[in-house]
């Protein structure tokens, strides 16, 4: 098994006809993902040739869901139109909407979340690389050739740190890797992923990657202490970040004395999580955990 994304998932791509959308649709197909088509009201009814696959373009997510039974939407729509694209996915009650777009105004994300929080749709992102269940399906832009299926679940705010850890632990493999994104407001949190990994029989141990800003890691630590029985290994980036400076991700900022890497590491360790000082040490800690299972 895996979480949220399996070989049975059927994917539609919002923004498939754009350059990024097309490139990653090709990669998702190459990874064995069942891509059912794209959504673009201006090109509805046409077919897009992606390598040897001919993909239909639908006028709306609702139509795509009705015609294909799609249950995942991956969204590559530019920031100015991301809000309406995600709301369209939510209104179509698609179970999973993965928002890759970087640079979405936070007020738009807040508006989307206010509507989505009690809806049928799980949102991942925005500003995220998406999720991959290696060997089964890929929804987003995580490279599918780093590693195969295995017992580790991974949740991370950062794309490249996800790839780095997948690479270091490639001989062991992963159930699902979820890049939740580095924006201040995101649809799926560390805690959501921890809960899903805890319930997933294929996941035996969990890597949690966090970074400065907010208190998501502290809350994840509290959740681990009370709800997670599987071993968790952690890594936090941003110990050297000065307060008041945004470090690449819109949400990666230490404000006054809150959101520091020290506080996050301490909270995780207090919850029994082993926290690596470098990505490599984190991989070694996970290797030891897997060896002792």
């Amino acid at each position: 098994m895996a979480i949220w994304l399996t070989e049975k998932s059927r994917v539609v791509v919002q923004g498939m006809t754009g350059a990024e959308g097309l490139k990653h649709t090709r990669r998702m197909l190459a990874a064995g993902t069942d891509v059912a088509g794209g959504v673009n009201p201006r090109k509805a009814g046409t077919l897009v040739q992606v390598k040897d696959t001919s993909l239909p373009v639908f006028a709306s997510v609702g139509e795509a869901v009705k015609e294909t039974g799609a249950d995942v939407s991956v969204i590559f729509v530019p920031p100015a139109h991301t809000k309406s694209a995600v709301l369209e996915a939510v209104d179509a009650e698609i179970p999973l909407a993965v928002v890759i777009t970087e640079g979405v105004p936070v007020l738009d994300t807040a508006t989307v979340w206010a509507r989505a929080r009690n809806s049928a749709t799980r949102i991942i992102g925005p500003n995220c690389p998406g999720l991959i269940s290696p060997g089964r399906a890929n929804a987003g832009i995580i490279p599918s050739d780093i590693t195969g299926a295995g017992p580790i679940g991974l949740v991370s705010k950062s794309g490249t740190l996800t790839y780095q850890l997948m690479h270091e632990l490639r001989d062991i493999g992963f159930s699902t890797c979820v890049g939740i994104g580095g924006d201040p407001i995101i649809g799926t949190t560390h805690i959501d992923c921890l809960a899903a990994f805890e319930a997933d029989p294929a996941t035996k141990a969990i890597v949690l990657i966090g970074e400065i800003g907010g208190d998501a890691e502290e809350r994840a630590a509290a959740f681990i202490a009370s709800h997670v029985t599987k071993p968790v290994v952690g890594y936090i980036a941003g110990f050297t970040a000065p307060p008041g400076k945004t470090m690449g991700h819109a949400g990666a900022i230490v404000s006054g004395s809150s959101g520091t890497a020290e506080a996050k590491k301490a909270a995780l360790e207090a919850a029994g999580v082993r926290v690596g000082r470098t990505p490599s040490e984190t991989a070694r800690l996970m290797r030891a955990v897997i060896g002792s299972l």
Binding site: V106, H249, T278, P279
Partner: protein
């Protein structure tokens, strides 16, 4: 982007939020002229992007234009929480009866917007117990619920909410929102942060969006995601998380990073050349670490970019560059760099090893 108080005041006024009369001055004589024009006692206020100015002596009452001049002379040039005061706001002094606290902000934990209100606003807001602060989640599509603020303040709260939405703010904080002796409600302080992600739909002509640091300015002009730090090892990497991690690993190896620079996903030769030139322009840099994990981008493309960048830069490459390439097509990338055999470039295959080497060269 954070606004100065005087910018926040102008933004408030544009949305019909009542604010004291006033203007900014960069010299004592300009401050005196503004005070004379106002013709009533004024408050001289340090313009720095930090709170707690009052407690730091950066907010002073001036009964006359002469006093305004003298106080401006004292406050200009002061340093408050690491920020040098270059301008003062000269604002009409209010006769304060009540001080309230009002804010709209992004609540990351709740994934929404939060309204906050306290009847005990002012300089000691940090000491106000949580029970004396009303916190109300706001659905932006629905607008302000009436329970968020006392009835008498709802008109001004509605206007401040309009400021928040119309300018794509992530913070609008008024502390204090006052009631004066005549019963008038006024915002006498304003802290506003605008969402950089929304700049594409905002008119920013009233503000300078330029970074204060000249290297940050140049990097921004080149479209690079760069933050100047105070160390000696220049850092270039791909992906915000990996770059933050690289800074930490270099620090762990005993050197201080000189900057954060994320070149993002598909980094071509020009981006790499721009990145290297900005980092090498920093005179404090003694060594450079390029840390790339090839995900979508193949390392041979990155290596080609580095080689072309080195050609573009020529003699400007005056300090050693340690390169670590891993991931997609790492072997091909490494052998390209090895063949190029640039005298200032050295390869180390692991992140920890490369960080240690760059730290050794640049500490």
């Amino acid at each position: 982007m954070d606004l100065y108080e005087h910018q926040a005041m102008r933004l408030f006024a544009a949305h019909q939020v009542p604010v004291p009369a006033g203007d900014v001055a960069a010299s004592p004589s300009a401050a005196a002229a503004i005070a004379a024009r106002i013709g009533r006692p004024t408050v001289i206020k340090a313009q720095v992007k930090a709170g707690g100015r009052g407690k730091a002596g950066g907010v002073r009452l001036a009964p006359s234009p002469e006093a305004a001049s003298a106080l401006a002379g004292e406050i200009l040039g002061m340093e408050i929480k690491g920020h040098r005061v270059r301008q003062v706001l000269v604002a009409e002094a209010s006769d304060i009866v009540e001080e309230y606290y009002l804010a709209f902000l992004i609540d990351r934990a709740d994934r929404g917007i939060l309204a906050m209100f306290s009847a005990s606003g002012g300089m000691d807001i940090e000491q106000v117990p949580a029970s004396a602060i009303v916190r109300t989640p706001i659905d932006p599509a629905a607008g302000l619920p009436p329970e968020a603020f006392p009835e008498a303040l709802q008109p001004v709260a509605a206007k401040l909410w309009e400021v928040f939405v119309a300018s794509d703010a992530t913070l609008v904080e008024v502390n204090p929102l006052i009631v004066d002796r005549s019963g008038k409600v006024l915002a006498v302080d304003g802290k506003v942060t605008l969402d950089d992600n929304a700049f594409f739909r905002q008119d920013l002509s009233d503000y300078s969006t330029e970074a204060e640091d000249p290297l940050e300015q140049r990097a921004a002009a080149l479209g690079l995601n760069y933050v100047k730090l105070d160390g000696t090892v220049g850092i270039i990497g791909n992906g915000a998380g990996l770059v933050m991690s690289t800074l930490d690993v270099v620090a762990g190896a005993g050197a201080r990073p000189a900057n954060f620079l994320d070149i993002g996903g598909g980094a071509g030769a020009q981006v790499m050349a721009d990145a290297l030139s900005v980092v090498l322009e920093d005179p404090a840099v003694k060594s450079v670490l390029v840390n790339v994990f090839g995900g979508i981008t193949a390392c041979d493309a990155v290596a080609t970019g580095i080689i072309q960048a080195l050609e573009l830069l020529g003699d400007a490459v005056t300090r050693p560059i340690v390169v670590r390439l891993d991931g997609n097509n790492a072997a091909a990338g490494r052998s390209l760099l090895a063949e190029a055999a640039h005298p200032m470039v050295e390869q180390v295959d692991t992140m920890d090893g490369a960080a240690a080497r760059a730290a050794g060269l640049g500490a």
